[in-house]
């Protein structure tokens, strides 16, 4: 197992994404990597959690949820977005824009209701998260962005979403362009000047944003995807499924990170409790399967820590294990 250090010596991604099922340690890995990159490699790093469970706050032991970008240490910036609030802010801004554009005092009821009820659209929440990510990346303020993906659909959904949004904006731009073309011709024939299309301007803006980000996400040179896995049957099945989804999207997984592994050496301890012995043996069994199934894809393995990894000190430990894994598969 080569470790992430080796990976980063060969690759210089601008974005690192941790995907996978919830509860396996994605957030911990994200936080640890961010900590390492910021403090050891001197990279301006942003760690972004899209996980609605707000665990970044717990890991850094500081409430950062919905507070915007916070600089925890020099170079180490974290943000945990409150997607709900983002959605409602966005809705407000649209309302205000309509009022301003037409000099209205209040919105037509139909429009107001329409805007309000969009928060019920299940994808609204994800789109808002996506938009927040795109916006941060577009600002280009950091050398490295680390995203902790939400657990639903293994975070792969987010990429699928990027793809769909990309296609969507392509299509509506195409339709709009044609609308404009015909409008322009009608105007030309009438001897009038075609009016500038404000919608088009907006679309170009949206498209640039989505396209830049989606291109970045799908460029394996600039974006690295890691998935966290633990040596249990269900996690293995899940990982296989996620890899399938990745393939379907035409994307490549940069590596798997094994977590919560009991050191095999423990077995040699003479008075090992039956309990631990059983667990370790079970793990060994699944590790074998992992080796067989994923082999070289596993880039790092984290031991089962004796304490829940939180706080900067523990993070330093996790980071160390991530970069230079001591465990062998």
């Amino acid at each position: 197992m080569k470790g992430l250090k080796e990976f980063f010596s060969r690759h210089r991604p601008e974005i690192v994404i941790f995907a996978g099922k919830g509860g396996l340690g994605k957030t911990t890995c994200s936080a640890a990597l961010a900590y390492h990159m910021a403090t050891q490699e001197g990279k301006r790093t942003l760690c972004f959690s899209t996980d609605p469970q707000a665990s970044l706050s717990d890991i850094f032991e500081r409430n950062i949820y919905g507070q915007g970008v916070i600089e925890l240490l020099p170079n180490l910036n974290v943000v945990e977005i409150d997607a709900d609030r983002r959605v409602s802010d966005y809705q407000q801004s649209i309302k205000r824009k309509i009022l301003d554009m037409y000099g209205l005092d209040e919105l037509p009821a139909e429009i107001e209701e329409y805007i309000d009820s969009t928060s019920a659209e299940p994808a609204m929440y994800e789109s808002a998260t996506y938009d927040a990510m795109a916006e941060l990346v577009a600002a280009k303020e950091y050398d490295l962005y680390i995203f902790d993906m939400p657990p639903f659909g293994h975070g792969v959904r987010m990429v699928a979403m990027a793809e769909i949004l990309g296609k969507w904006v392509e299509k509506i731009t195409e339709a709009r362009t044609q609308v404009q073309e015909y409008e322009a011709v009608a105007a030309t024939l009438k001897g009038e000047k075609a009016t500038e299309d404000l919608v088009m301007k907006e679309l170009v803006d949206i498209r640039n944003k989505i396209k830049t980000f989606t291109d970045l996400l799908t460029d394996s040179k600039r974006t690295a995807f890691f998935m966290v896995i633990i040596p249990e049957q269900m996690a293995i099945l899940d990982t296989e499924r996620a890899l399938g989804m990745f393939d379907a999207l035409g994307m490549r997984m940069s590596g798997l990170i094994l977590n919560q592994v009991y050191p095999k050496e423990l077995l040699e301890k003479p008075n090992l409790s039956e309990f631990l012995k059983n667990r370790i043996e079970m793990q060994q069994h699944y590790l074998g399967i992992i080796r067989e199934k994923f082999g070289d894809l596993v880039v790092a393995a984290l031991p089962m820590y004796t304490r829940e990894p939180k706080g900067l000190q523990m993070l330093a430990q996790v980071a160390e294990d991530l970069m230079y894994p001591k465990l062998a598969l």
């Binding site: 073309e181 011709v185 030309t188 024939l189 001897g191």
Partner: protein, 579 residues
């Protein structure tokens, strides 16, 4: 006699129709109200409904209604002599023609801008609309058959026109590209287009196509080429093909009208005189007796059903104020009458020698050249003028036919829905294959009369719909009921006569084992079975048109009776709300 006097007389008649009869009729029947909100304002959506100034609308309506009908119809009509044709064009227009065009616009304006499909639905129910739908399906086949035949014929008899036509099409496509892709100003585009039109004519003269090069199959070949062009027109986006081609075609086509009218008006100076007899016969074999045939032969010059379809489809939705309907509807129709007169004139100036037999479809070109050459450079320019007028004939036929083919596809889509037959490519293919077969059959005069019959019948039915509306709002109906009845009886008779001819021909064919010589042309004379079969098909087509026509007539008369007996309709039904 100089054609001038005829044109002058007609002008006076039309002036009276427009100013005196028209104004009186307006006061008595429609009472257009400048304050009544028109659908253009009521439903303004900037796409279908929006007010357009009356000059523009007049130009649009005239352009949409003026086609090959008034140009070629008189050619058949003068079989009986020019006087009956002349009288029909003047009087038919005076008492019937403009009333229909005008009424179609008004009835639509007073019914929320609805077109004839919805109006027939409202007045005569689903049965009426469906009958109309199927009637139109056949009607369009027949139009297509005649126009495809004519285009093919023109290309063959004017060898310089094919390349010129191609030039116009290519220019049209270029204009589309300049407009849509390069977004050039329309002035520049027009200048380039006009230069290219001249180049096209020049090229056409330089590169004549060989005459009859495939022997009897030449016509079939040219008809197939026409179908290919029409196919493209039907499936390509309208704004980038049909419309720009129309734009380019507009200039030569209308220049031709202006030149002929001018030629007729200054004929006392140029010395061109009438050479055709005013009266020839009351019965032409295989064409039919003067009544009802004359009235359907001039397919558009005096009255045409196509006009009310156009008028109620787009024009009525864009009428700014009700009084505009008079100049737009009546004005355009009377102008069309002038176009028909100009054509009659073009035929009249030909000597009986020049107009030999019924085969010379190019007679109009000959006459037009004769009328205009004297003031356009004399004999030297004759070759150019022949190409030019030949080309305009093709253009008239082709531009209308592109719309007809596309329209047929939409009708097929409506009838066959999402099944294969309603599918864009399949529908277009069928909408061209059948007319192609019809065209190749060669019974073009009789087909033309089918076309005229169904077209004028359409007009009669349109006037009936107008009459129903008037009955509904308790306005005087006699001024439309009488013409409608005359048109319906005449056209049904004409259809019956033509169907009977085809029936006779089929029987003759079956009895003798070879097709009747008057109802077959090369190449089908080589295939008697096919020719006889086609005659049989034409019997069926005629019967279908006849039966659908009768059905629609019955439905409209019934509706008329019903509305006549009903108490006055509330104001809302009578038209837009009062402001």
């Amino acid at each position: 006699m100089s054609p001038f006097w005829l044109v002058a007389l007609a002008l006076i008649a039309y002036y009276v129709a427009y100013r005196v009869y028209g104004k009186w009729y307006d006061r008595t029947v429609w009472r257009p109200d400048p304050n009544r909100t028109t659908p253009a304002h009521m439903y303004m959506d900037g796409v279908e409904f929006f007010p357009v100034n009356r000059y523009v609308l007049w130009g649009y309506q005239f352009k949409s209604v003026a086609a090959l009908g008034p140009i070629l119809g008189p050619f058949i009509a003068i079989t009986y002599g020019w006087l009956p044709a002349f009288l029909w064009i003047v009087l038919g227009n005076f008492f019937i023609g403009w009333l229909q065009d005008y009424g179609a616009i008004m009835v639509s304006v007073r019914n929320e801008g609805r077109s004839f499909g919805p109006i027939s639905y409202e007045f005569t129910g689903a049965a009426g609309r469906n009958t109309l739908l199927y009637f139109i399906l056949f009607y369009l086949w027949i139009i297509s058959a005649t126009f495809i035949f004519l285009i093919a014929t023109f290309w063959n008899i004017f060898p310089s026109t094919f390349v010129a036509t191609l030039g116009i099409l290519v220019t049209g496509v270029l204009v589309g590209q300049m407009l849509y892709r390069y977004k050039m100003p329309i002035g520049t585009i027009t200048i380039i287009a006009l230069i290219l039109v001249v180049v096209s004519i020049w090229l056409g003269m330089r590169l004549p196509t060989p005459k009859d090069f495939l022997g009897p199959w030449t016509l079939a070949f040219w008809a197939a080429v026409t179908c290919v062009i029409l196919y493209l027109a039907s499936i390509l986006p309208m704004p980038t093909f049909i419309q720009p081609v129309n734009y380019v075609a507009f200039f030569p086509a209308y220049l031709a009208i202006v030149l002929i009218l001018l030629g007729a008006l200054i004929s006392p100076l140029t010395g061109v005189i009438l050479q055709q007899p005013a009266w020839k016969t009351a019965y032409a074999p295989f064409v039919g007796p003067i009544w009802p045939i004359l009235f359907v032969a001039i397919a558009c010059g005096a009255i045409s059903g196509w006009h009310s379809l156009v008028g109620s489809s787009s024009t009525s939705k864009q009428l700014d104020i009700e009084p505009d309907a008079h100049p737009v509807g009546a004005g355009a129709m009377l102008s069309e009458g002038m176009l028909a007169l100009a054509s009659v004139t073009a035929y009249m100036v030909l000597s009986p020698d020049e107009l030999k037999g019924m085969t010379n479809i190019g007679a109009w070109v000959l006459g037009a050249t004769k009328l205009t050459a004297p003031y356009l450079g004399g004999d030297v320019s004759k070759a150019v003028l022949t190409t030019f007028f030949g080309l305009t004939l093709v253009i008239y036929a082709l531009t209308v036919q592109t719309l007809v083919t596309r329209f047929w596809r939409l009708v097929a889509g409506e009838i066959f829905g999402e099944s294969v037959l309603g599918q864009k490519h399949v529908a277009t293919f069928i909408g061209l294959l059948i007319p192609w077969i019809f065209a190749v059959s060669g019974s073009w005069i009789n087909l033309w009369l089918y076309f005229g019959g169904s077209n004028q019948l359409m007009a009669g039915l349109a006037i009936m719909l107008i009459t129903i509306h008037l009955a509904r709002v308790k306005a005087p109906t006699i001024y439309t009921l009488a013409p409608a009845t005359f048109m319906i009886v005449t056209t049904l008779s004409a259809l019956a006569v033509q169907t009977f001819y085809f029936f006779q021909a089929t029987m003759y064919g079956l009895a003798n084992g070879k097709p009747h010589p008057a109802f077959v042309r090369p190449p089908l004379d080589q295939y008697p079975g096919v020719a006889i079969f086609l005659n049989g098909v034409f019997v069926l087509v005629g019967a279908a048109l006849f039966i659908l026509g009768i059905r629609m007539a019955v439905l409209t008369y019934r509706a008329y009776g019903r509305f006549r007996a009903a108490p006055a309709a509330p104001a809302a039904v009578a038209g837009g709300s009062k402001e």
